[in-house]
């Protein structure tokens, strides 16, 4: 009986420890966000640093985004054709592919890939800078690491993400065109005409852009925060990198639901 109680109390203690540590982590994240906010505008006094980060975070993610966008478009074209042909509505294939991509798959899949490709790299880089005392050295040289290192990387993520999501959707629509029009024989004019007719630039496109901006900000924030607060050991770097990918992916999916409900809900 005693053993049962001990096991129960140990479990309770472990749960309490977990909740406390999660609360402390969240508190740190809010404090860090507050500190970062104050550096976001001053970071634009050095636009070259932000451009460098857009290159490192955005341009170097192009290959994975373009290839993934192409495959997703091909699959959407194929699946869409199979379903629409049952209702003799294959001429709507273009708009189906385009809306799926622009509203949902473009921002969400890009964000998930972006978290894995760029978010993890940003975390690992910052955590390694911390471990090797580069951030500390910067501080002792009277250079604010939040402004010099963190803010440009955050901006890089916020700016690169909508551009990558747009490119993902564009390549996906081309993939749908390839499989639907060139391979399965859907009328080319219908494919493009339906897209032109039914897509609302302000509703569909802008909502996609807003989503990808929010996802970019979330991934950027999580990536820089986890790197900056990583334990300065090799295990600490590995844990921080994993946390970035897991946490930002979950936040992207959760926020996607909230944003979709807000934008397209009843």
């Amino acid at each position: 009986m005693n053993r049962v109680f001990i096991a129960l109390f140990n479990g309770l203690a472990a749960l309490g420890q977990g909740v406390l540590s999660a609360a402390a982590h969240t508190g740190q994240l809010f404090l860090f966000t507050g500190q970062l906010m104050g550096r976001l505008l001053p970071a634009w006094t050095r636009p070259k640093l932000i451009v460098q980060e857009i290159y490192a975070i955005g341009v170097l993610s192009l290959v994975i985004i373009v290839i993934s966008g192409g495959f997703v478009g091909l699959v959407l074209g194929l699946q869409g054709y199979n379903i629409l042909s049952k209702f003799n509505a294959t001429e709507s294939l273009g708009v189906m592919v385009a809306l799926s991509l622009v509203r949902e798959l473009g921002p969400v899949v890009t964000a998930l890939l972006f978290a894995g490709r760029a978010g993890s790299a940003v975390t690992a880089e910052i955590a390694l800078m911390k471990t090797t005392e580069q951030l500390s050295a910067m501080e002792m040289m009277a250079v604010d690491p939040l402004r010099r290192v963190i803010a440009p990387r955050f901006w890089g993520a916020v700016i690169a993400m909508p551009l990558l999501a747009g490119l993902f959707s564009l390549v996906g629509i081309m993939g749908g065109y390839f499989i639907g029009v060139l391979v399965l024989g859907v009328d080319s004019a219908s494919y493009w005409g339906q897209i032109q007719q039914q897509m609302q630039p302000m509703d569909d496109v802008m909502n996609g852009v807003i989503k990808s901006l929010v996802f970019g900000a979330v991934i950027g924030l999580v990536a820089v925060f986890e790197g900056f607060n990583a334990e300065p050991t090799s295990l600490g770097i590995s844990r921080a990198t994993t946390r970035t990918v897991v946490l930002s992916s979950l936040l992207v999916l959760g926020l996607d639901f909230i944003l979709t409900a807000w934008m397209f809900g009843a």
Binding site: E133, Q134, A142
Partner: protein, 281 residues
């Protein structure tokens, strides 16, 4: 002369671990001062307290009259521009060449034209004997070279105060000699105040004007190297630290466990309880 750095009844702890317990220390201006002590006594922490990166729980750390714990962030930044720090591992920016590392503080804090920055960088690298390594990345430099590049970077803005964190650790004898000469000659030529933390007794005693020995959160001895040698017979810890003698309790315990192991392996008679240093029987 008024000291450059003053610790007044300063206490600092990490969690429940008390690192410094109400210490008083006055580091003189224009001299090389060394802070010595065994590993884990918080020597590096002391440098971070001087730099204002961490704040004491009580007492004050005054650097040229400025209370580093209460200074505004502007005043703190202005003070840090007047100091240079050589980190134990160099802490060079790994994505920049040696020359760009040295140029970093100049580009951040001055509006000098690029040509002038290039000339200053060349001068600083020449001062540490590494002009030829200007275009190399930190990963391509040896440990000793990286530390000298880091020294050139720390000197880029002509600081008044230089902080050295374990500058001789892990260096070969030639590099140690080079670093010793550099630290001493830079201090004299540029009129710096230098503070170095180290546990390398011979090296520190060769160049330091003033030495503080800390142990278990307190300053146990201070003075010039000669004064410390004179104090040695009266302060057991000082004698042990400076002469590198093993800790008595540890050596007895170590000898006993070695004897036990030897007996277990059948290398020593079980009834022989006398500590022996003559090896196995």
């Amino acid at each position: 002369m008024k000291p450059y750095i003053q610790f007044e009844q300063m206490s600092f702890s990490r969690g429940r671990n008390l690192i410094f317990d109400r210490i008083d220390m006055a580091i003189p201006r224009g001299k090389i001062s060394a802070i010595m002590g065994p590993s884990g006594t918080g020597k590096t922490t002391l440098l971070r307290l001087i730099g204002g990166q961490i704040k004491p729980q009580s007492g004050r750390v005054l650097v040229d009259g400025l209370d580093m714990a209460k200074a505004s962030s502007q005043a703190l930044l202005a003070m840090r521009r007047r100091l240079g720090m050589l980190f134990q591992n160099g802490a060079l920016f790994t994505d920049l060449t040696a020359a760009d590392n040295v140029a970093f503080p100049l580009r951040e804090h001055t509006r000098l034209p690029p040509a002038l920055i290039a000339r200053i960088v060349a001068l600083k690298l020449q001062a540490v004997g590494l002009l030829t390594a200007a275009d190399q990345m930190p990963a391509a430099l040896s440990g000793g070279m990286a530390r000298r590049v880091a020294l050139a970077r720390a000197l880029a803005l002509d600081p008044e105060l230089m902080l050295y964190d374990e500058p001789f650790t892990g260096q070969d004898p030639i590099n140690v000699g080079v670093l010793l000469r550099l630290i001493a000659s830079l201090n004299q030529a540029l009129g710096l105040t230098s503070v170095l933390v180290s546990h390398d007794v011979a090296e520190v005693f060769a160049i330091a004007d003033c030495v503080f020995v800390i142990n278990e959160g307190r300053v146990v001895a201070s003075g010039s190297p000669d004064e410390l040698r004179a104090q040695m017979p009266h302060v057991p810890f000082l004698r042990q630290f400076l002469e590198g003698a093993p800790d008595d309790t540890q050596s007895v315990a170590g000898q006993q466990s070695a004897n036990n192991l030897a007996r277990a392996l059948g290398l020593k008679r079980v009834d022989d309880n006398r500590p022996s240093t003559k090896g196995t029987r």
